[in-house]
């Protein structure tokens, strides 16, 4: 589990080079911006002075803004923006990129803003142009990332519950409707879905059934088969090894972390969850194929 996602915004940093401030050296401007971004801060770079229009400055959710610049006249230590945000000013004269981080963190600490970072934002994003509200993702997810909205639509409700680097729910989605923007390959990373992907997705029902429970049957069968062979050899250890190999192969093929694979729910648990989800959904569809269809 990762840190919870809070609704508070971190400190907003404005790199100001407009009227009343000297321009920064290009290399310094780049280095300061890059360093702050890598620390998790949002940076507005402006040379135009006061900006206007939507999105041009602090938004109502931002309560603390830090303006950095080489001011020609001493700015006020603090002011209040039209949005009600507290605006802090700090001079960049004689401050390098590392010093800027210390300065920003100092203001962030004083103003008790959320410290950025600390969580790799890994979670599913639903492409509603493809989603059919089948609830397979909700039924399958081990970590209760999904929920159902008031209008009975599947939605991602608990992003921070998601298991980092696990794309398992996108593997069971029959419509390629689940993205993980930080995943390495398409179409899960958000790349457009092409004909080859769709062809591959036809196999999803089988994969879903496999993940949904038939994996146990497959492994049991494999294990029994191995046991019958090895019984003669009285070598249970080899049967166990065979089972491990089988699991490892599936993990590699589906790119699902071992701990997730090892914690797969039982068929009964999935059925129960699917029924619960189905009763909540606008257009419920069965998750697990009927007996003999898998």
């Amino acid at each position: 589990m990762s840190a919870s996602v809070t609704a508070r915004s971190p400190l907003l940093v404005v790199l100001y080079e407009g009227a009343g401030a000297m321009p920064l050296d290009a290399a310094a401007r780049f280095e300061i911006t890059r360093t702050l971004l890598e620390k998790g801060y949002r940076v507005i770079a402006t040379r135009a002075g006061r900006r206007s229009g939507p999105g041009a400055g602090p938004t109502p959710g931002e309560r603390q803004v830090l303006v950095l610049g080489r001011f020609t006249n001493a700015p006020p230590a603090e002011a209040v923006a039209g949005t009600g945000a507290a605006v802090h000013f700090r001079s960049l004269d004689g401050v390098d990129a590392a010093g800027v981080v210390a300065l920003v963190e100092g203001v962030g600490g004083e103003s008790q803003t959320q410290k950025p970072g600390g969580w790799k934002p890994w979670f599913p994003v639903i492409d509603y142009s493809r989603c059919t509200n089948c609830m397979q993702c909700l039924s399958f997810c081990l970590f209760d990332v999904y929920g159902v909205s008031k209008d009975k639509q599947i939605e991602v409700q608990r992003q921070s519950n998601c298991k980092t680097d696990c794309p398992a729910c996108s593997r069971v989605c029959p419509e390629v409707a689940i993205l993980f923007p930080k995943y390495k390959a398409g179409p899960i990373n958000g790349d457009e879905v092409n004909a080859v992907d769709l062809e591959r997705e036809k196999m999803k029902v089988d994969i879903s059934a496999l993940l949904g429970g038939d994996i146990y049957a497959a492994l049991r069968q494999r294990s029994q088969h191995a046991n019958s062979r090895f019984a003669r050899e009285r070598d249970d250890q080899r049967a166990l090894e065979e089972r491990k190999k089988c699991l490892a192969k599936l993990q590699a093929a589906l790119d699902i972390p071992a701990e997730v694979m090892n914690a797969l729910p039982s068929v009964d648990a999935i059925r129960e969850k699917a029924e619960r989800a189905g009763s909540q959904a606008a257009t419920p569809t069965p998750l697990v194929p009927a007996e003999g269809q898998a």
Binding site: V5, S9, I44, T59, P181, K182, N189
Partner: protein, 119 residues
């Protein structure tokens, strides 16, 4: 002037090639254009950061990030759906830094995107 230029640094993962984002950011900081640089759009989406709604309301928005489908649904997930007619996407996972910088027209967010380059 309500044209906005939004750059995502994808700071908390290695999804965007480092040289591409470095070169694009350097071009932006050298250009003299005003822009918004965010550490990570995914993180903002998870937090439902109100800034996303402000970006979505911009008259014109150029979004330099990753795959358009991902960006579109990240905004949507934050309750800030993008109006496709007012947004252009530049994709640092699929385009080169040179292509993106050229598409930005040296930092002019109103410059047209070359055909086929929007990821």
């Amino acid at each position: 002037m309500a044209t906005r230029l939004l750059y995502c640094h994808c700071a908390f993962a290695q999804a965007v090639p480092r040289p591409v984002k470095q070169d694009v950011l350097r071009a932006l900081t050298d250009s003299g254009a005003d822009f918004d640089a965010v550490a990570d759009l995914c993180e903002m989406s998870a937090r439902k950061d109100p800034a996303l709604a402000e970006f979505a309301r911009a008259e014109h928005l150029t979004c330099v990030a990753c795959y358009p489908r991902a960006v579109r649904w990240l905004f949507s997930a934050a309750g800030a759906p993008l109006d496709e007619a007012r947004v252009r996407f530049l994709n640092m996972r699929a385009q080169t830094a040179e292509e993106i910088v050229a598409a930005l027209g040296g930092g002019d967010p109103g410059a047209p995107v070359p055909q086929g380059s929007a990821g």
